[in-house]
Each structure stands twice: as structure tokens, then as C-alpha cells.
């Protein structure tokens, strides 16, 4: 567990915790946030989540807000109030930084997906995204989800790797995560996803 990272989890009273997942359409964000919600429900807490479907699927930004506690009203969090940002892509980490609290924590997937303006050469992809985040926040975990997914034997488990990394900072028991993962994947994809989850959960930076 990260030295600064106190665990955000079930031992909360009257407080609502917000996790924001952000990335690009096709990265498995909605699946990942569904799994997180089920883990939270299994832990006996109220949970709401929100994302926008439709045109956003086509290569656009995808975000999913997950909020949990004893009683949750809003399914979306306001800027300045998110506890943990799980960024599936480096640029998307920058785009949603203003949703975080001062004390917020960030997990960044070491992946670059070029938006159209960068592909066309009219804008540049910031080469110092991680440094910019580290400059503003003290608790940043950078994970290479693609490499760890490849190590699990199935490159499509990148989102599960990131969930594993996120689980380091959340106070939910391992057996709940494993139970929900088992219910979430077909048998042929399960082993790789369980392994991917553990690769993320055991990952330590540096």
C-alpha cells in the first residue's frame, strides 16, 4: 500500500466517496466501473454511478463517476471533490484533474491514444503529462496497463489491471473482488482477468 494512501472504503460514516474513471471509448471503462459498483454493493454500501452513452462512444472521451457511502444522492461528483482519479490514458488524466480534491490521488495508465488534432499534426500531445500531474498532486501511481495485461496472457484485460491497482487504495476485501470478478467474466476469459487484477493489485512503482 502506498505510504501516503490511506484506504478509502467501507469504514465511513455519512461520507460519500467519489472515484472518477476517465479514458477513451473502447478501453473498457464502463465494464470496470460496473465491477467496482458490484464490489461496493457486496460490501453493503449504497452506490451510484453515471456516465454518458451515445456519441461519446465513437472515439470520444468516456468518464464514469462512481460514488459510494451509507446513502448516496447524486450519481455525479462536482469539480474539486473527487477522491481518486483512475485515468485510463495520460491525456485524460490531465483533462479531468480539476475534479480532484487537493488531497486527491491519481492512477495513470501509461498509455497514449492520439486524438484527431494530434493525428493531423495541428496540435501536439503533451510529452510531460505525468510530470504535470505529479507537480500538482503528491500521490500519483503510474501503471503500464498494457504491459501488465500482456503479462496476464490477454491484452484485453487492461481495464482489469487498472482495477487491481485501484483496489490497493480501496478498503474492500480481496475475496469480494475475486467473487465479483468471477461473476463478471465468461469462463474462458476469467483466468487472465484474475491474473490481470492481481498484477495490478501487486504492482508497486519504482
Amino acid at each position: 500500500m502506498d505510504k501516503k494512501g490511506k484506504k478509502a472504503g467501507k469504514n465511513i460514516t455519512g461520507r460519500v466517496i467519489s472515484v472518477l474513471m476517465a479514458g477513451v471509448g473502447g478501453q473498457g471503462i464502463l465494464r470496470a466501473s460496473d465491477i467496482l459498483c458490484r464490489v461496493i454493493m457486496e460490501a453493503g454500501l449504497d452506490v451510484k454511478k453515471s456516465e454518458v452513452h451515445g456519441m461519446a462512444q465513437r472515439g470520444g472521451c468516456v468518464t464514469s463517476h462512481v460514488r459510494y457511502g451509507q446513502k448516496v444522492y447524486s450519481p455525479i461528483e462536482r469539480k474539486g471533490n473527487v477522491e481518486i482519479l483512475l485515468a485510463f490514458e495520460k491525456l485524460e488524466a490531465l483533462r479531468y484533474l480539476d475534479y480532484l480534491k487537493h488531497s486527491g490521488r491519481i492512477i495513470i495508465n501509461e498509455v497514449e491514444i492520439y486524438p484527431p488534432a494530434v493525428n493531423l499534426g495541428s496540435m501536439t500531445y503533451p510529452d510531460n503529462a505525468v510530470d504535470l500531474v505529479r507537480h500538482k498532486f503528491s500521490t500519483v501511481m503510474v501503471v503500464n496497463g498494457r504491459d501488465l495485461a500482456a503479462a496476464s496472457g490477454n491484452i484485453r484485460t487492461e481495464n482489469t489491471v487498472l482495477l487491481g491497482a485501484l483496489s490497493q487504495w480501496l478498503d474492500f476485501e480481496l475475496d469480494i473482488w475475486e467473487r465479483v470478478l468471477k461473476e463478471s467474466f465468461p469462463p474462458k476469459a476469467l483466468d487472465a482477468n484474475l491474473q490481470a487484477f492481481h498484477l495490478g493489485r501487486d504492482y508497486r512503482e519504482g
Binding site: H53, G54, L94, R95, P115, N119
Partner: protein, 598 residues
Amino acid sequence: MKVLMSGNEAIARGAYECGARFGAGYPGTPSTEILEEFSKYEGVYAEWAPNEKVALEVGIGAAVAGAKALVTMKHVGVNVAADPLFTVSYTGTNGALVVVSADDPSLHSSQNEQDNRNYAKFAKLPMLEPADSAEAGRFVKIAFEISAAFDTPVFLRSTTRVSHSKSVVVTETPVPYEDRTELRINPSKYVMVPAMARIRRVEVEKHLQALREFAETFPENRMEINNTEMGIITAGMPYNYAKDVLPNCSYLKLGLVHPLPEKLIRKFASLVKKLFVIEELDPFLEEQIRAMGIEVTGKELFSYTNEFDPGVIAGAMMKKTDAAVKLPEVAIPPRPPNLCPGCPHRGLFHVLGKMKTTFVAGDIGCYTLSFMKPLEGLHSCVCMGASIGMAHGMSKALGEKGRGKVVGVIGDSTFIHSGITPLLNLAYNQGDAVIVICDNRTTAMTGMQEHPATGYTLQGAKAKELDFQALAAVLGIDSVRVIDPYDLKNTRTVMKEELARSGSSLVVSRRSCVLFKRRYTETRKPLRVNVNKCIGCRNCLDLGCPPIAWRSFKDQPANEIIKNAKKQEGNSYIDADLCTGCTLCRQVCKVGAIEEVE
């Protein structure tokens, strides 16, 4: 059982639990999943209609026969269905009829931001508005009860945030289904000629009055009295935002947003020192409360536009701006939605975009994205079906000036929705425009829903496939052609030929959506750029295809730069993991630098 459900799933579940077994609708974000989910339940009959008007008429027929019918659509779909809607409020419904209107504050996936609560008042129908999934499931049941008890159609209004957020729902055992359908003939109730409509018109006011009384004691119009300094009247999702930010205020949360409970509102107003209304979009509640002579603060503080969130409430009520951390001072390139790699629309709109003196009247679908750089092949988008009528009107108005310069483009599902009558009009009134059906064989934008030309129904039964060419011929269109938009040369040739000839033309640009697994079964080899041949002309980048990127020589190590032209500044690169091998880039490359990955 506790289940995490979206608002849409909860509406479907609630309808099923209370014994509804009949559904109709037309797909449209954020409403689509309601009917999809409903159709999966045991014993349910549900269908995609060609458009919302037909869906509502189907629902009316089922309800008049005694069924409990669920009809679903997005907010703008209610415009299409408005004609029957305004009169079915007179006839009543016999069985029960619930119309779901899924509104889209912030226009996440829509062409306008209309507030459909106004329809409830305008069409004189009761409207319920849930705030989360649990309420969505509960309210749809109440909607069916009200419909049966007051013999009126009932609106259930959702918004994108209610439809597409997920929260905990406790599912219940469905009530046993009871078949109450039978053939009933009752002309004085259902034949709305003036003499009989005048009588039913009075009935409408009577049951609205009865509903006003009902609203006063309706438990989902509920007061939460806490600190009485500030009282907030609200409904739907904004209630959650307000509770998040102002947990200690007093609330009157309205479950029924039309008609309003005047006595209850007066009572609540008398209990609090200062009264606020928090509502997205129009001052629908506020104006009515003001008209009661009650002093209230609303749109002085809150915007008429866009959906709210807890930050909006905090900003308006507490003058608090929340962002704790400023975004870094670096340009963050936007990530707008884009046509997918291999999208069949790309070829067609690449050709249209190069015809610089042509006006392309567009329509609603994925292809609307072609208005953007670099394709820039579409010049208008108003509503479902507008392309054809607009192209015709424009070509008539321009006369000789517009000859060979006006095109209308429309998707296959959109054409069926509301393109057939304007195409008939084009033939009948001898228009001179070229209409293109972008036929990707499915309703792609909302997620591959069936329609009358796909050959299947919502519930998977084999159906007849509408033949666009045969239809155009019987409508009287002069020339009908079919093209493959992956073939750029032929697409260009056919478009030029059809624009050059006088009279009406229909071009069917046919190729399946790449994401539509049933139709798109080819596997093609991905392509790559041979840097020994690339001259950096950027022709391939003009396609706006996501896997194709520009690599400037400035960002390349000097010893790796391969220059094939004098003024070359970089070369193109194709991400083989994303490339579907559609070959459009190979077709536009003048030096043969794009080849298959071995």
C-alpha cells in the same frame, strides 16, 4: 433482490413487474435501452416501429384493446408523435398507456434541448418524473395505475442522467399477468370528429381536475422539513444534486410534475422563510408557482441551459466555486467523437467533401460527424428526415443556380423513420436533387437496433427486408443507383453522373457498419505506410481516419528520416492495431506508399 440498474433498465423492470406485456418505440439516446431490456422479459411483445408516431399509435391501439402498453422515445421523438398524443388525451386509453420521454439536458446526443415537461401541460397529460433508478421502477408502476384509474395516457419523463446512471434497485416478484384484452367497440369515445371531440374535451378538463386533487395527497409529492430558513421545490435528478450540497434544507420533492398540487405548494411555502425552485431547463415549476401568487427564486440563480450537477447547485446557492486545482497550463487536445476506423460513411463523405460547390443537406446519424474537419462533407442537420425535404426545397429555390449542386444524405434507419414521404414529394414535385441513403444496414448510432430493412425484428424474428431501390422506383424517382462507399473512384463517378443529369436521383451507398457483427464478417489485412515511398502529401490524413497519424520529421531522429520529396516535412503512420484494412487511404495515396501488413 438488490440489483444495480440503470434508470432505463429499471423502467423496463418496473413495467414488467406490474404486468405490462406490450411495448413499442423507436431508438434514440437516452431512451433506447428501455425497450431493448423490456423486450427480453418472458411473455413480453415489443417492437421497434419505423418512427415514434407509429410507435405511439401502436401503443394506443394496444391500450384501447385493453393492454397495458409502454411506448418509449427520446425527447425529440415526442415531436414526431405529437399528433396522436394530443388527441389520445381526449379518447383516453381503456387499458393503460405510459409514454416515456427521455430528455437530454446538455444535448449529450441530440440536436436540441427541449424540456418535454411542457408537453404534459400542452397535451393535458399527467407526468411523473423519477430521480433515480429505484424511483424509475416505482414510478412506471404508478404511471400505469394512474393511466388505468383516470383513463388517460401518462408521461414518464426521464433525463439522460436518470436513464444512464446506475443505482440500487430492489426487484420485486412480478404480479401475475392478467389478460384484459378484448375487442371493444365504442365510437363515441374513440371517433374524434368535432361533435364527439367537443364532449371528450370536457372530460379532459374533468380528469385533469381530478388529478389535481390526487396530486395533493400523492405520497411521491413529499415534504422533507428540516431547517426552515430555505425551502426548495424540485423534482427528478436535480433533487439529488441539491440534497448532496444542501442536506439540511427543507424540500418539497415533486414526483408528479403535472398537474401541480397547489395546496401542498402553498403549505410548503408557508413553512419556510425563503422559497427556491431548482429545475433544469425551463422555469416550468417556477412559472406556475409564481402564477399562484407565491414568491419564489429560481432562474435568477440558475441557468436555462444545460444539465446541472452538484457544483451548479453549490455555485448558485452558496456562491461557491469548487475546482480545487486549476488545470495545468498546457493545451489539452480535444477528443471529439469521430467516425470509426473502417466506417463506410468515410468514403462517401470524402467524395462529397471534395465537391466544394455542392451543398450537402445532412440528417441524424453517425454520418452527421462528417461535417467536421477534415471531411467537411455535410452542411446541415435539423431533424430526422429533414435532409430530403431541405435538398428538394433548396434545389427548387435555387433553380438553375442550384442545378447539379444539391445533395441530401440520410441513414437507412432515418430514411425509414421519416425520409419516405419527402422522397415521394421530391418525385411528385419533380425536384432536382440527388438523395443518398447511407445504408450501413442497421441503426448504428444508437447501438445496432433492427429496422424494417435489416430483415429482423426487435425480438429476433425474421422479417421482410424493405428494398430501397424498389421503393424508390414505385415512388417515381427517375434514377436509382447502388454504390459501395469503399470504392472511391466509382462513388465519385456515380455522384458526378447523378448530379449532372436532371430529375430526381437516389443513390444507395451500401456497406455494413464495421461494428455490426452480423453483417460485417470480412477480415481484411491492416495497412501500413512504406516510409521509403511516402512523400508526406497528407492525402491519407484528409480521411480523418483514427489509425492514421502524422509524424513530423522534427520529432524523428535525424538519422532515421527518409525524404522522398523536396519539401517533405514528415510522413504518415498507420496504427495496425486499429486499422481495419478498408483501403480508402491506399486509394487516395498517389505514390503507392500504403501496403498490406504481411
